[in-house]
Structures are given as structure tokens and as C-alpha cells.
């Protein structure tokens, strides 16, 4: 083959696979054990009194350790959301779906999840939702124990009461 006939090599695919081992640490271990029992555990900051879930063992605002454990409800309010219609190869849920920030009752930071159980055009800011857990015998120390959130039918929370969390 002459040089003129050789085409440039424009793309070579080289697949890569990554498997990580994650050490949860003390606060997150307690949270994950709670999840395996169907309970959501947060931690309260001793200075600003805000409740973090999942807890990381410290408050990023006050730079102090958090030790007081707090039971957080598995019900909450949608703070904001997006309807995802773009495919990505490692998404956990079929398209389209509502990706939501849920403020769990008793927590001060939002929890990221998805909403199922109602038409997408009914998802709204202020909507009340509750966690849909896997069957009790499938509960495990992983967030996959919460399948998604579903509407509870309770009245919406007015926007003014959510403003500080947006």
C-alpha cells in the first residue's frame, strides 16, 4: 500500500472499567445501618442546630464535628425538580423521569432522588412525597433501599415556607 492510500487513524476505542471500594466512615456507617432497618438517620450540628442527612460527621458551615443523632422522617417536600429526557448510559431509571430535591421533614439539606407514581406534569415545587422502600427482606445498607419517592396526597407546602432552602 502506498502512503497516499493509507488513511489517518482518527479514532481507537479503548474501554476502561472502574470498580471502587468505598470506606463509609463512622457517621455514614450509622446512616447506612439505619437505612438497612428502614430508618433515615441524620446528625445535628451543635452550633447552628441544622440537621444533615446523609450525615458526614461534621458541619461544613461551622467546621465542627456532629455527634447528636436525629431520626428524620421518610416524608418530605419537593424543593425543586427537573424532568430528565436525555439518555446517559449509566442512569438508574428509564426516561423520562422527574429528578427532585426533597427536603425531608426534620432535615435541613435536600435529598436527591426521583419521583414516581404520578404523571410528570403533576410534579411541582411544594408537593408532598414519601419514600418508597424496597420489600423489608431486601433492605440493605445502601441507598438503593429507597426505590424512589411517591406523592402522599397531603396539601402542598406554600413556596414562602420553602424559600430559605432554595
Amino acid at each position: 500500500m502506498s502512503d497516499a492510500e493509507r488513511k489517518p487513524v482518527r479514532s481507537i476505542q479503548t474501554p476502561m472499567r472502574l470498580t471502587y471500594h468505598y470506606t463509609a466512615g463512622i457517621a455514614t456507617s450509622r446512616f447506612l445501618h439505619g437505612i438497612a432497618e428502614g430508618r433515615i438517620l441524620g446528625q445535628r450540628c451543635p452550633v447552628c442546630t441544622k440537621v444533615y442527612v446523609p450525615p458526614r460527621g461534621s458541619c461544613p458551615r461551622c467546621a465542627v464535628a456532629t455527634e447528636e443523632e436525629v431520626h428524620v422522617s421518610d416524608r418530605g417536600t419537593i424543593l425543586t425538580f427537573a424532568i430528565v429526557r436525555v439518555p446517559s448510559e449509566n442512569l438508574d431509571v428509564p426516561l423520562p423521569f422527574a429528578c427532585v430535591h426533597v427536603l425531608l421533614d426534620g432535615a435541613d439539606v435536600p435529598f436527591f432522588s426521583v419521583v414516581q407514581g404520578c404523571p410528570l406534569d403533576e410534579v411541582r415545587i411544594g408537593m408532598r412525597v414519601a419514600a418508597a422502600w424496597v420489600e423489608p427482606d431486601r433492605l440493605a445498607p445502601t441507598l438503593q433501599s429507597i426505590r424512589w419517592f411517591e406523592p402522599t396526597g397531603e396539601p402542598d407546602v406554600p413556596f414562602d415556607q420553602l424559600r430559605e432552602h432554595l
Binding site: K50, A82, C99, V109, L143
Partner: protein, 385 residues
């Protein structure tokens, strides 16, 4: 007292979806050679090289700074790699400027790049972590809920984002380096384009680009005698904040507000809207223009959209924004922040061609990254500090 520092050379590639005629090394070298030519210098004149790019996981090239050292002429010289997510192009330029301001070097080459055709940013940004399900779907999936929060808080008209997209894409038609050139784009085309991450439409989203940007920075001693006048760096600032904390203002981040306050104070600016002639700000999704106008103090909280709506940010407005077409028209991620800084410098050098703002003497370059946790900014002027 810090040494004075100026931008004396600017280079960039023609940003496009796929540069499979060159390797990553070829791409960065193209931008670097243009910056050196613009400065009237050669590789031997450079004292140190500072490289920036977004996460290694995008292209899967570990330690690109090692692989690119010879292509960037860094052998035998200090070579430093910077990483601050999407803001990295900006913070890379800041680090390079700091080396001159500290008196360590006379001339520093700084380069930033991304080759999205060789990467999979959507995949890398949708990884499943132990404490979060993979439901976010790339950067758009992360930022769409924040845009909805802004819409709810501000009560801005629903077509605000469409107007930003039309303005930026129209500006891109005047920029020969821009990736997207869409002279026939209409309001209806943008409005009727599919929702990717509702409320973000297809035409309100940045493209995936291959591209690189390079700057030659110099001390005051080495700044004169070039073919083009220098752009003098009057102030730089960087800020970060935690990923998540109670009471976090995700729409109007404190780190961004404080970064802006610092860069204005260092440049002696008290009324940014009046004293800054034009701004290149990092807007990957249209609605981030009004959000950042507020965060940067150009408009009161809740009313940034009015500037967009009234045409204040158009090329003939009182504060032209994203004259180059912005991130919405070209997005080689790692380079995107440096392109903002470069456009600000081109404007005050009078070098911006068809997208030049008449009489621009003071300009802001801005970049942000992560989930709005990293900010970098600079103020450049045609006048020496």
C-alpha cells in the same frame, strides 16, 4: 507589592464538534503557537507553563500534563497543572498570572483544553456514588432544578432563557472561532426545540466541543514592544465553597458573591455596571446569564432577567455580555473558562474584530465550576494599573 502582569499573546483553536485531524497534543500546540505568534515570541522565550483541564476521567488520559509536556515546550521548565472543574480555564490563567505577580517569572505560557470528541463527559458526570443514585444525568441534570428555583424566585418571564440563547448564538456568528454558527436561528426554533432537562431546551444548552485556548502573560518589563498592546491585569480572585450545606444559596452562591466583591475591590471598582464596559461570563445554560448578573452585582437579586429582557446585555446595550457567543456557542470544557478570560483581554486590546465593543477599556472575565462551588474572575484594562 505585587509585580504588574499583562496579557501579551492570545491564541485559540477553531472550536468544533470533532477535531480528529489532530491528537490532544496537536490541539493544545495549535492554540499555544497562535498565542506565541500574537505575542511575537518563540518557545525559548517562555519561562514556565501552566496547564488546565477538566477531570481526567473525561478523556481517560491520566496526568495529561505529563503527556503534553513536550508538546507545550515545557522540558527543562516548571510545568504546573491546575484543576477546579469547569472554572479551571479561569483559575489556570489566575495561577499563571500569580507566578508573574510574585516576581518568579518574566513570561508564562498558560494553556487549557478539552477534546470532547475523545471523551464522555455525560458518563463521567453521571457516576453512581455510594450515597447517591445515578439520577442526575450530566451537568444539565444538575443545573436544571436550580434554574427552576431561579424562575420561581424571580418570577422572570418564561422566554428569558430563549432571549439569552438567541443573543449569544447571534454574537457567535461574528466570531470566526465559535463552534455553533446558526445565522437562521429564530425565537420559534429555540422555543420549539426539545426539552432535554426540562426547563432546559436543546437550543438553550452548550454544545460539546473540541478546542484549546492559550495566553502568554508577562511582567511589566517584558510587556512592551509586541505587535498588539497589552491587556493589563488589574485584579484576580478565586473562591470555593462546600458541596452542600444547610442554608446554601445554590442559585446565588456566596462564593460567587464574595469572589466578585474581591475582584472589584482590588480593581478599585465601586459601581460594576457603570465602570465595566463588557463582560464574558460562564453561561453553559441560557438562564445562567440572569442568575450570574445578580451574583456578580450587576443587577439587584431577582431582577437580573430585566437586563436581558431590556437588551442591556446585547452588543449595543450598556453592558454587553458574552460578545464571543459564550459557552452557549463553544464548550471545550477545560478551555471554556480561559476563553472567557481571553475574550475580556481581546476586548480591551481592541482585537475582537466583528464582535469588538467600541471603546472597551475595562472588561470582566468570569468562570464557575462544579455545582457552582468554584469561581474565578479577572478584571483587565487597556490602561496600566
Amino acid at each position: 507589592m505585587a509585580e504588574r502582569c499583562a496579557v501579551i499573546g492570545i491564541g485559540q483553536t477553531h472550536h468544533t464538534a470533532r477535531r480528529d485531524d489532530v491528537s490532544i497534543a496537536g490541539l493544545v500546540r495549535e492554540a499555544a503557537e497562535r498565542a506565541l505568534a500574537d505575542a511575537g515570541l518563540d518557545w525559548g522565550d517562555i519561562d514556565a507553563v501552566v496547564l488546565g483541564k477538566a477531570p481526567d476521567m473525561f478523556e481517560g488520559v491520566m496526568m495529561p500534563e505529563l503527556y503534553l509536556a513536550d508538546a507545550l515546550g515545557a522540558a527543562g521548565k516548571p510545568l504546573l497543572r491546575v484543576h477546579t472543574a469547569g472554572s479551571v480555564g479561569g483559575s489556570t490563567a489566575v495561577v499563571a498570572a500569580n507566578l508573574i505577580q510574585a516576581g518568579l517569572h518574566e513570561r508564562v505560557l498558560t494553556v487549557a483544553f478539552e477534546k470532547q470528541s475523545e471523551s464522555n463527559a455525560m458518563w463521567a458526570l453521571t457516576v453512581k456514588t455510594p450515597l447517591q443514585s445515578a439520577v442526575v444525568a450530566g451537568a444539565g441534570g444538575y443545573f436544571a432544578p436550580l434554574i427552576r428555583s431561579y424562575m420561581q424566585r424571580s418570577g422572570a418571564p418564561e422566554d428569558t432563557g430563549i432571549r439569552v440563547a438567541l443573543k449569544d448564538r447571534s454574537n457567535a456568528n461574528k466570531n470566526p472561532y465559535a463552534h455553533l454558527r446558526e445565522p437562521d436561528l429564530s425565537f420559534e426554533t429555540v422555543a420549539n426545540s426539545p426539552m432535554l432537562w426540562d426547563p432546559i431546551r436543546f437550543h438553550e444548552t452548550c454544545p460539546s466541543s473540541d478546542g484549546a485556548c492559550a495566553l502568554v502573560l508577562s511582567s511589566e518589563r517584558a510587556a512592551t514592544g509586541g505587535a498588539h498592546p497589552p491587556a493589563w491585569i488589574h485584579a484576580t480572585a478565586m473562591r470555593s465553597e462546600p458541596t452542600q450545606f444547610a442554608g446554601q444559596e445554590k442559585v446565588n452562591p456566596r462564593a460567587g458573591q464574595e469572589c466578585a466583591q474581591e475582584v472589584y475591590a482590588k480593581a478599585g471598582i465601586t459601581d460594576p455596571r457603570r465602570e465595566i464596559d463588557c463582560a464574558e461570563i460562564y453561561v453553559p445554560f441560557s438562564w445562567f446569564e440572569p442568575m450570574w448578573l445578580e451574583n456578580l452585582g450587576f443587577a439587584p437579586v431577582g431582577s437580573g432577567w430585566k437586563m436581558t429582557y431590556e437588551g442591556a446585555t446585547a452588543p449595543d446595550g450598556d453592558l454587553p455580555v458574552n460578545m464571543s457567543g459564550g459557552v452557549l456557542s463553544s464548550n471545550p470544557i477545560g478551555a471554556s473558562g480561559m476563553l472567557r478570560f481571553a475574550e475580556a483581554a481581546m476586548q480591551v486590546r481592541g482585537q475582537a474584530g466583528a464582535h469588538q465593543v467600541d471603546g472597551a477599556r475595562t472588561a470582566l472575565g468570569h468562570a464557575y465550576g462544579g455545582g457552582s462551588q468554584f469561581f474565578s474572575m479577572w478584571i483587565v484594562r487597556s490602561e496600566r494599573p
